[in-house]
């Protein structure tokens, strides 16, 4: 199977630092000839590193090429990862306002979360006895979130195979939407878990991945925040609190670390 995580996504970080490099070194985009150099600068070439502009200082170039080491898997298999990437992209799709869940790294975020406390329900009360309760009493199952994901993803794939003869990740976007809808509305009946609850968990985890601090692996380059004009983590709003809407470039927790 191909490793989807080494594709265009991993280019995002060094793309932006290369853009910065271009600006810093006085290049203006429009004046550059389209060719090997420009395509490699923007991550279009399959193997761009060898084509890099020879005039670029060696150190800058090395820094720009540093991969995002956060982008590897702690829990999902690659097959699961592909389903999560496809499903979260349908929940929060790319459009004219900006990137969707896939580019923002939401599937990596969910993978990393499932590997920790949250995936193990580490701070939830998981003691027996277990009884099916009234719906007002909330989740009463014995399965942990990582187990719910294992089952939910497998069932999503089974459903896609049954209805279209293909895995979920291979479906057309509108077919994926229909499958997700069938889970959301519990048109799909599962024996072990509730399809609707699984969808709800997937949806809320998607929003967490879009909007949490980039330190957790989603919200790549704070693009999630930028799309809705959320300034992230700022030390003070004293100067704008009495004013009308003010657009502020976002800042992340990394900046706080530097400022203290």
């Amino acid at each position: 199977m191909e490793d989807s995580s080494s594709g265009p996504d991993s280019g995002q970080v060094h793309d932006s630092s290369r853009r910065k490099f271009l600006v810093n070194s006085g290049y203006v985009l429009g004046t550059l000839a389209v060719g090997g150099v420009i395509s490699s600068l923007f991550g279009c070439a399959k193997d761009g590193e060898d084509n890099a502009d020879s005039s670029a200082p060696a150190d800058d170039n090395k820094e720009a090429a540093a991969p995002n080491y956060n982008r590897a898997l702690m829990y999902f298999t690659q097959a699961q990862f592909r389903i999560v990437e496809a499903a979260t992209e349908r929940i929060f799709p790319e459009d004219e306002s900006g990137p969707g869940a896939k580019k923002l790294g939401v599937a990596f975020f969910i993978d990393h979360q499932l590997a920790g406390d949250w995936g193990f329900n580490g701070r939830d009360y998981m003691n027996p006895p277990f009884f099916a309760g009234e719906k007002e009493q909330g989740y009463q199952g014995r399965l942990k979130r990582r187990e719910l994901f294992d089952i939910g993803l497998r069932e999503l794939d089974n459903y896609s195979q049954t209805t279209h003869g293909k895995g979920f990740a291979e479906l057309e976007p509108d077919q994926q939407d229909a499958a997700l809808k069938a889970f959301e509305t519990e048109e799909v009946k599962l024996t072990t878990i509730s399809a609707g609850s699984f969808f709800k968990m997937l949806r809320s985890a998607t929003l967490e991945g879009v909007y949490s601090d980039p330190l957790y692996g989603g919200n790549l380059n704070m693009e999630g925040w930028r799309m809705r004009n959320y300034p992230g983590s700022q030390m003070s709003y004293l100067n704008i609190i009495e004013k009308d809407f003010t657009k502020i470039e976002p800042s992340s927790l990394q900046a706080h670390l530097a400022s203290h």
Binding site: D95, G224, S233
Partner: protein, 571 residues
């Protein structure tokens, strides 16, 4: 066998607002006080990385670890109570300073009506106005009697605010001026004035300016960073026990705080407490701390649970209505609100402070005529700007898809174009709403969990509908292009966050039999035990509780000093 330590004058169970205030007052008067806190030590430096919505809001960084202890819940006595396995309806504090560290800081005073609800309701509408099974009571103290203690709490915390035109009489103005007024708060002020209502700036523990309190504690002004509720304040601008009363107690050299110390029993003999038994959770060791006076200041649930597990006071029996410990559990009706969508305007919704807001009390307490209404009381209505953090705040007009292209488009569009007006509906006590020990589920030590039996009543459904309509009228007057508001209140459920203003279980009153404590928070059945907190509210008011809890703590401290001198019941 348990290790027994030397006796102290006073032992305090839980070092949050109530415990911290009492520790500070008693040690200043020369008493030796031991504070037992089950959670960890906390300091301002913990919060350099605090602007983290995932960690603090979604993963409940500062809250009690439910894997060790939770509560169980059932809607009524006919169904099996099951554990709250994950957080939802309310959050439980933990650690030094307790919930007083991660609160919003909205510091209201209750209305005079709140303290004499039963008698004033009967006087105005006749006794038939109070429906069968509703067990609302007078507190055994009036607003005017409690006023000096409110004043003390406000001065200690540096509360920012302006006089509530419909509130009780004040002896002094707020110690600091109101917070800044944002454009949306300005719109609320204009709209409510047009509707002949009486807006006033929300009383705030966020500090509008630098302030030094009577104890000499200096704190800096709020920066409106938008991270209060569920977060600690990295500036110390938000009043909390760790930056106000606890250092004052520490400075006397008479306060000994022991964190990681989980109290399991109050020890007592012949109607008097002799001390407490606790576990050092870092070693598992069982320790006995003897004391002349025991002060119980954990949250509502653990105040009740500790008394029941210690077999101190008479447990409530819902069948006969006899007994008091666990009776009059009440909550809040928070869903009667309205959301307005503004096409033509954007706001700095991301900025704010926990108690940055503007309120009206025209529909609170008995400030309006209930003759033709099928409910009692009401609630404060407010527009607040607490900082709309992006994971939890994705408002879209009703009818919008919950996910996909349409959801993304609209949630981005409305992120800074939405305002909401909320109401904190009061909650009445009923005979069949109560707290007791769960027969099945246990905590990490093998002790029974607290069991809640509670549901919304007709009273709550009528109240929620009424308040939602009032909120929506104001929102329309503010010029919203579209307004969504609650049409019908469903059953109470434990999954959705509503309010951490749980009350009752150890209620205050004028005489034993129908109450557990007197108006100094002293137990009728054990005069050297004081139980302080929102557990003493006979029913819940339409406000945040902390201002009143603070006032009751100051009064309890005065009572403890009196008791220390002459002993016996103080009332």
């Amino acid at each position: 066998m348990a290790k027994t330590l030397p006796k102290t004058d006073v032992v305090i169970v839980g070092v949050g607002w109530a415990g911290g205030i009492i520790a500070s007052e008693l040690t200043k008067s020369g008493l030796n006080v031991v504070g037992l806190e089950r959670g960890k030590e906390r300091k301002t430096e913990d919060y350099y990385m605090v602007h983290d919505e995932l960690r603090y809001s979604m993963r409940y960084e500062m809250m009690q670890d439910l894997s060790k202890e939770t509560i169980t819940f059932r809607s009524n006595e006919n169904i099996r109570a099951l554990p709250m396995r994950q957080y939802g309806s309310f959050l439980l504090g933990d650690g030094l300073g307790g919930s007083g560290v991660h609160w919003n800081g909205q510091t209201y005073r209750f209305l005079p009506y709140d303290f004499q609800m039963r008698s004033m309701t009967t006087e105005r509408y006749g006794k038939n106005k109070i429906p069968e099974g509703m067990t609302i009571r007078d507190w055994g103290i009036t607003y005017d009697e409690l006023e000096p203690y409110y004043d003390k709490f406000e001065k200690m915390a540096g509360i920012s605010g302006e006089e509530n035109p419909l509130g009780g009489k004040r002896s002094n103005p707020y110690p600091t001026p109101p917070m800044k007024k944002t454009p949306s708060m300005q719109m609320f002020a204009e709209a409510t004035k047009k509707l002949n209502l009486n807006p006033y700036m929300m009383p705030a523990a966020n500090l509008s300016e630098n302030y030094t309190n009577p104890d000499g504690v200096a704190r800096a002004a709020c920066q409106y960073c938008g991270y209060c509720e569920r977060y600690g304040c990295e500036y110390g601008a938000k009043a909390d026990p760790v930056v106000t009363v606890i250092p004052v107690a520490n400075k006397t050299g008479k306060f000994q705080i022991r964190t990681h110390s989980n109290v399991r029993r109050i020890l007592h003999k012949g109607g008097k407490a002799t001390g407490v038994m606790y576990i050092d959770v870092t070693t598992g060791e069982e320790i006995i701390q003897p004391a002349d006076i025991v002060v119980v200041t954990s949250y509502v649930f653990n105040n009740v649970r500790l008394l029941l597990m210690s077999e101190l006071g008479k447990p409530y029996d819902p069948a006969s209505g006899q007994g008091v410990i666990g009776a009059n559990y009440a909550y809040q009706v928070i869903k009667g609100s309205a959301v307005g969508f503004f096409e033509e305007k954007q706001f700095n919704n991301f900025a704010g402070a926990g108690s940055l807001g503007i309120s009206i009390d025209d529909y609170n307490g008995d400030n309006f005529d209930h003759s033709n209404l099928n409910f009692l009381h009401g609630g404060v209505i407010a527009l607040s700007q607490t900082g709309a953090r992006p994971i939890q705040n994705n408002p879209v007009p009703s009818g919008t898809a919950a996910w996909g292209a349409e959801f993304k488009k609209k949630s981005l569009h409305y992120a800074n174009r939405t305002l909401s007006i909320g109401a904190q509906g009061s909650s009445m006590a009923f005979k069949h709403h109560f707290l007791d020990l769960d027969p099945t589920y246990k905590d990490a030590f093998g002790d029974p969990l607290m069991r809640i039996t509670f549901d919304f009543e007709d009273q709550d459904r009528e109240l929620a509908k009424f308040l939602a309509e009032r909120c929506s009228e104001i929102m329309k007057e503010m010029g919203a292009s579209h307004v969504d508001y609650l049409k019908e209140l469903g059953p109470y459920e434990i999954m959705t966050y509503q309010s951490t203003h749980n009350t009752g279980g150890v209620i205050m009153g004028a005489e034993p039999g129908t109450s557990a404590i007197n108006n100094f928070s002293q137990m009728w059945d054990a005069d050297n035990v004081f139980v302080v907190g929102a557990s003493s509210f006979p029913q819940n008011a339409g406000y945040n509780p902390t201002g009143t809890v603070g006032a009751l703590a100051y009064r309890a401290a005065e009572g403890i000093l009196k008791y220390r001198e002459k002993g016996g019941l103080l009332v």
